[in-house]
């Protein structure tokens, strides 16, 4: 999630109400269980919700290889802010909504970079 978040060591404040009441919007940063490994939590940005149709570039800046994906019911599209390094929905497809654990509201550590998202 570079450059929004540091590679390691940021402490984030999550709230669970948005996810439980399904008030997650496009652009929110969320924490979810990884679809590939249930013991791992991933932190990504929601780029599309159910019903949206997005154009996905499997590689950044390779415009000719764009694919159109329709997000199925009950799923969201997660993507990291660093398109070169992030492993996200471009690799494992849309993620079921029920895997979302919480929405990131604040960064509380390091203390000099408090930020509200």
């Amino acid at each position: 999630m570079f450059p929004t978040l540091n590679a390691t060591g940021d402490l984030l404040f999550l709230e669970r109400f948005s996810v439980r009441f399904q008030k997650v919007n496009v652009g929110d940063i969320v924490v979810a269980c990884s679809p590939e490994n249930p013991r791992v939590l991933i932190c990504k940005r929601v780029l599309a919700v159910e019903g949206d149709s997005i154009s996905v570039l499997p590689e950044p800046y390779a415009q000719d290889a764009a694919k159109n994906v329709l997000i199925p019911k009950g799923h969201v599209w997660l993507q990291g802010d660093d398109p070169y390094k992030s492993r996200d929905s471009r690799h494992y497809g849309p993620v079921p909504y029920a895997l979302l654990q919480g929405k990131v509201q604040l960064r509380i550590w390091p203390p000099h970079s408090w930020k509200k998202f």
Binding site: Q22, C33, S34, P35, E36, N37, P38, P72, K73, G74, H75, Y92, V95, P96, Y97, A98, L99
Partner: protein
Amino acid sequence: MSQWFPKLKPLGREVWERSVLLTQFLCCIHIIKEHVVEIHQVMGPSMLPTFSAVGDVLLVERLSTKFQRIKQGDVVMALSPENPRLIVCKRVLGLEGENLVVMPTHGSGRVQHIKVPKGHVWLQGDNLSNSTDSRHYGPVPYGLLRGKVFLRVWPPGGWTRF
């Protein structure tokens, strides 16, 4: 008014202590329900004849899914990938890495060969003709599984272990 206060004070203390006890009790129930065992009633025809369509009460244990001890053939409760507010009860027919042959759901479909991806399971209801399961929405991420069914307690007349 001032003559009532000495009577109200012990009553207030008792109300407070009872409230604290009730809160602690509810917290314990919540922890047991979320992490140990849960009682669930299943409705719907998708698991006939194993479970009836009108509401069997099952005991669901939450530990197997947390420690990844689910095996092929287990009946599990999971969150539906199509509707995050819905909990479904299906049988695990394939674990990650297995190759499955899926028969068509209706006459004109084709037989599919599917490899269950990493971190996913294949869920299918026992009532193949009336079940919305992985044949419709694909393999289900393991993180959606909530618990494994191990006992049926209602209807009475012999508890059944699974």
